[in-house]
């Protein structure tokens, strides 16, 4: 799972597989952090319940 694991090898299969995995995890992680942070910020700003959400 990490390069320091005994099973890790710097070969194609590891790079592709784990690359894909960490890429996905990265997006999700970043996304969630962004959302939480922004929401906190908005709240501080006193926003909340405005209708921007609606399309």
């Amino acid at each position: 799972m990490f390069p320091f694991n005994y099973e890790w090898a710097w070969d194609m299969s590891h790079i592709v597989f784990m690359g894909g995995l960490w890429y996905a995890l990265g997006i999700i992680g970043a996304g969630v952090t962004y959302v939480v942070a922004k929401s906190a910020w908005d709240t501080m700003k006193g926003h909340g319940g405005h209708e921007e959400g609606h399309h």
Partner: protein, 242 residues
């Protein structure tokens, strides 16, 4: 999408109320954060390991001084190439025959002789700092005698033409795994992981698992590290496992 038609108030008073609450919550979070750091780094290790003293306080320095060929005098290889590890009481009795022929004044020796040697040489329940679990096959022979290791120790090494004395080894590298235990005058207490039953030496003194020297940790990764250096590649499982 929020279907709610209610809207939270925006009067200054309420704003402050919310802000205040936020501050308090954040503060609480901070406290919780630091508290758990404290528990995790200080309290947890204390709880995790039990401490015991060795049945006999053994002085390596004295013994190494007293014997001719250091480590291997007591920690020898058997006929079949297996490593004897801890000497049996019978081995010790070679010198420590009986209470009438004590080697010195040390009370620990008296203790040893009367409690073990003279109790028909029953074995001393030593705690083994470096004890590996049942699933591990550790070949001292391979680590001491294999040409690879000899070459690793001394690049000029060649396989000897003539027969060398079987089982005789040079102990220049024992410390790589065992540290300089041969230079200790007292046994340090044996610490055991309450959950796993492992000696603390396996995970290492440092609870974060950080080591400065090779002998400070004995987990599989530590073996692997060296194996890759010496063998130039990772090993199959059936080299160290059984």
């Amino acid at each position: 999408m929020s279907q709610s038609s209610l809207k939270p108030s925006e009067t200054p008073a309420d704003k402050n109320a919310y802000a205040g609450l936020w501050a308090v919550v954040l503060f609480a979070a901070a406290v919780g954060f630091y508290a758990s750091l404290l528990v995790g780094w200080i309290v947890f290790p204390k709880l995790l390991y039990s401490k015991q003293n060795q049945p006999i306080d053994f002085n390596h320095v004295v013994h190494v001084g007293a014997v001719d060929d250091s480590c291997q005098t007591c920690h020898y290889f058997r006929e079949d190439g297996s490593f004897a590890g801890m000497p049996a009481t019978a081995d010790c009795a070679g010198c420590h025959e009986s209470m009438d022929s004590l080697q010195g004044e040390n009370p620990q020796e008296k203790l040893f002789v009367q409690d073990y040697v003279e109790k028909d040489q029953k074995e001393v329940p030593w705690f083994i700092y470096s004890k590996q679990p049942p699933c591990v096959f550790f070949s001292h022979a391979a680590h001491v005698f294999s040409p690879k290791m000899r070459q690793f120790r001394d690049p000029e090494y060649q396989l000897p033409e003539e027969e060398v004395e079987e089982g005789a080894y040079d102990d220049t590298t024992c410390h790589v795994c065992h540290g300089f235990i041969g230079e200790s005058e007292h046994n340090r207490p044996y610490e055991e992981n309450r959950i796993t039953g492992y000696s603390r030496d396996i995970w290492g003194e440092n609870i974060a698992g950080i080591k400065k020297h090779t002998w400070e940790r004995m987990k599989m990764d530590d073996c692997a590290e060296c194996h890759e250096k010496v063998k130039g590649h990772k090993e199959a499982c059936f080299v160290c496992h059984k």
